[in-house]
């Protein structure tokens, strides 16, 4: 195996570990941390199903953002939906058509290919729009930290290097697939040595590694946001967190005699 293959293989193992471990830690923290009070932003659904639908609309259509500002919604949605299609397209690198269950998904992966191809442009355009907004609108410029700009450039780098490979400097995807499938069975094949590919993979690996420790974490946060995931039923059902329940025994003993 070449040095580059070993380097990138290790990089992806470390990045995957960091991603999974970091996410597991955060999710555990969110689950463990109680929400002592009912604080859904109302009007809120009064059933669990309603809440599931609210979250679905939020995650798939960015409902709240749509209410807020059309431009940010448009660019943000273009970018995320584009990325979603692109990710689906990449599934082909991680599924061996000879696996027994592969026929179940393979036609779908095939179907998404042409869309995924052009979705890369939507991604880039969306990111571009978000970047312009960050520079041009004084309010958004004011709240931006260096890391906010860096992430935009980073994602643009990933999208651009991917598009370059799709349209200009094609890489050997058969060999690449041997590398990726090999990665998954802990015996990576030789990685094609193409500059755009190495850049692409390098940027992706770092993004994966930092995902749980950065603002990218918002992808998880939405599911744990009490203003969005709580059912509006405080009168019907007593909601009590463990630490708050402890107060039940002592409450009221101090002022009950006064003021009567």
């Amino acid at each position: 195996m070449s040095f580059l293959t070993i380097f990138f293989a290790l990089l992806f193992y470390v990045a995957t570990f960091s991603l999974v471990a970091g996410l597991a830690y955060r999710i555990r923290l969110y689950i463990k941390t109680p929400a002592p009070l009912k604080i859904p932003t109302t009007p809120a659904p009064v059933t669990r199903t309603g809440v599931a639908l609210r979250l679905f609309r939020e995650v798939v259509f960015f409902e709240s953002l749509f209410k807020a500002t059309l431009w940010t919604w448009l660019f943000g949605w273009m970018f995320h939906f584009g990325m979603f299609l692109v990710l689906l397209r990449h599934l082909r690198y991680f599924i061996n058509p000879e696996w027994f269950w592969a026929p179940l998904v393979w036609p779908l992966v095939g179907l998404v290919q042409p869309f995924g191809l052009y979705a890369g442009f939507a991604m880039l355009a969306g990111l571009g729009g978000l970047l312009v907004r960050r520079f041009a609108v004084d309010r958004v410029r004011y709240i931006s930290a260096p890391s906010d700009f860096i992430w935009l450039f980073w994602l643009m780098g990933i999208a651009a290097s991917g598009l370059i490979m799709s349209f200009i400097l094609h890489t050997d995807i058969v060999q690449l697939k041997e590398f990726t499938l090999g990665l998954m069975s802990l015996s990576p094949g030789e990685l094609p040595v193409d500059l755009p590919l190495l850049i692409h993979l390098g940027l992706v690996a770092v993004l994966m590694a930092l995902f749980p420790y950065s603002k990218l974490l918002h992808a998880v946060g939405i599911f744990f946001s009490p203003t969005r995931n709580q059912v509006d039923n405080p009168r019907e059902k007593r909601h009590l967190a463990a630490w708050a329940a402890k107060y039940d025994d002592t409450r009221g003993s101090r002022d009950s005699a006064e003021g009567q």
Partner: protein, 513 residues
């Protein structure tokens, strides 16, 4: 209207998003609570001075809150600085101070959270905008977390539902624990502990006031409408903001409730022990104090042996009642389970109207053209009735049943999009007059529009704070202070009590004259 040393904003024809001007409101800070008020709430004093070890204590408190409130942890982690909330806060719209943009307000707290509680902030503070906790940071917190009325408007538009109110509450809780409590809120909470209500109205005075109201009611209607106090065995305990006992226009609303109860033929009472619906414990983010205030209602209900609890017109009180009371002071297994616990006076009245139990002469309100202000805590933090959004339809249904002329303000300024009156969240104090006046800009603008377009004469609200704030601040915008009315005041004008002799001849004579 007092003399002012700041520029009163001009209302424009169309709402405008102001240009960012840094530091515009940096001077705004409420009085710090003196030691004697702090200790009543189990907070350390300091009389505005930094005490030994304040920094460690503040960081420790932050850590504790992060472990107790998922909202805080998730909100601090999830913001992507998308900017969707930046033009949604009435305090930003009225001042142009960038630190009044919800995300920037959160960032005052988040920067410190990042520095002490996250990997990136510990090792790369500049990169992610993390800062050390210093005395200046605390002063900035004290200023800007008292320029947030916890109205939750920002949380409607944030793609992750980040509610800046939660951050403001946490920040105030930290400030309280290092001796920087706010005088207005903490002094008031102390009064509730000592006397039973925010205004410090003792039982004797309360009894006299209610008697006076009974006389007024009888003079007006010729019927003995009662306003009972501490009646054991009554069916309903009315918990209402203490402003309802004598402030204008609140008290007219209270007389309206009394008429409704009278017509419904139910037995009801006010309690001197729980003579306050408001719960400022929420404003300061203190679970302990919020519970200590709320528990008085449980004690009063048990003591008087009532079967139901009904809340009067008050926004944040209704949030605490609707969303938190079951948690704080439940379970309510000793009350009648056939009714919502607690119930809003509007729900009660609305049910009676639906069942045709009340008689109105709408024409008595024909001199009014009415619009309705959705109070933030009712709109975005609670509900009325069985359906989501009942908090919007029920009060409007009542208004339309009692008056002929009703017009809503612009759709982007009502319902869940409603703008705060500018005085909520513990800001209803004279030392915060400038931010109160400027924070009313978006609401005043929407109001001015319906005044110009439909000849609206009166603004109706169902919140004690809104009513006081409008009465005081509307004159700054050239509107009359008595433009603001209680919902049950409008009802009170139109209701005809059973057996009430209506002097139609007199009115006809007046009309002819």
């Amino acid at each position: 209207m007092a003399k002012v040393d700041f520029e009163i904003p001009k209302l424009k024809k169309y709402p405008e998003i102001p240009v960012v001007v840094e530091g515009t409101m940096a001077h705004s800070s409420p009085y710090v609570a003196a030691e004697k008020f702090q200790v009543q709430l189990d907070f350390p004093g300091g009389n505005g001075e930094f005490q030994e070890g304040w920094k460690e204590k503040a960081i420790e408190k932050m850590g504790e809150l992060l472990g107790k409130y998922r909202s805080l942890q998730v909100f601090l982690d999830s913001c992507v600085k998308c900017g969707a909330c930046t033009d949604k806060c009435h305090y930003f719209l009225g001042t142009g101070d960038p630190k009044n943009m919800p995300v920037a307000r959160q960032d005052l707290f988040r920067a410190v959270y990042r520095r002490y509680f996250t990997f990136a902030g510990k090792y790369f503070p500049k990169l992610v905008g993390a800062v050390d906790l210093t005395e200046d940071v605390i002063k900035e917190w004290y200023s800007y977390f008292h320029q947030c009325s916890q109205c939750r408007r920002c949380s409607v538009y944030c793609p992750y539902g980040i509610d800046t109110a939660e951050i403001s509450m946490a920040a105030r809780e930290v400030l309280d624990h290092i001796g920087f409590g706010q005088k207005y809120c903490n002094e008031i909470i102390g009064k509730v502990y000592k006397i039973g209500n925010n205004l410090g109205l003792p039982e004797r005075a309360l009894a006299d006031t209610l008697e006076g109201l009974e006389e007024d009611l009888e003079d007006e209607t010729g019927i003995a409408v009662k306003v009972p106090l501490d009646v054991k065995g009554a069916d309903i305990l009315l918990v209402t903001p203490s402003a309802d006992f004598f402030a204008e226009p609140h008290v007219d609303g209270l007389m309206g409730y009394a008429k409704v109860f009278h017509e419904a033929g139910v037995s009801w009472t006010v309690s001197s022990h729980a003579s306050e619906a408001a719960n400022f414990g929420m404003f300061i983010g203190s679970y302990e104090n919020m519970q200590r205030v709320a528990i008085r209602i449980r004690e009063a209900a048990l003591d008087l042996g009532v079967k139901r609890i009904i809340f009067g017109e008050c926004g944040h009180a209704w949030r605490v009642a609707y969303s938190f009371l079951n948690t704080l002071a439940g379970p309510w297994d000793f009350l009648d389970q056939n009714y919502p616990i607690p119930q809003h006076i509007c729900e009660f009245t609305h049910n009676l109207i639906q069942d045709d139990k009340l008689t109105f002469d709408k024409s008595r309100n024909d001199d009014l053209v009415i619009t309705f202000h959705d109070s933030c805590n009712v709109a975005r933090a609670s509900r009325m009735g069985d359906m989501p959004g009942g908090q919007f339809t029920i009060p409007r249904d009542i208004l339309k049943a009692v008056c002929n002329n009703f017009h809503d303000m612009a759709p982007e300024t009502i319902h869940e999009h409603t703008f705060c009156c500018g005085g909520g969240g513990g800001l209803l104090t004279d030392d915060l007059m400038e931010i109160r006046v400027k924070g009313m800009v978006p609401r005043a603008q929407a109001l001015q529009d319906v005044v110009d377009e439909y000849g609206v004469t009166n603004l109706v609200a169902i919140c004690a704070i809104c009513k006081s704030q409008f009465a005081k601040v509307l004159p700054y915008y050239g509107m009359e202070m008595d433009m603001i009315m209680s919902l049950h005041q409008v009802l009170s004008n139109a209701i005809i009590l059973t057996g009430q002799i209506v002097d139609d001849d007199d009115e006809a004579a007046e009309d002819a004259a």
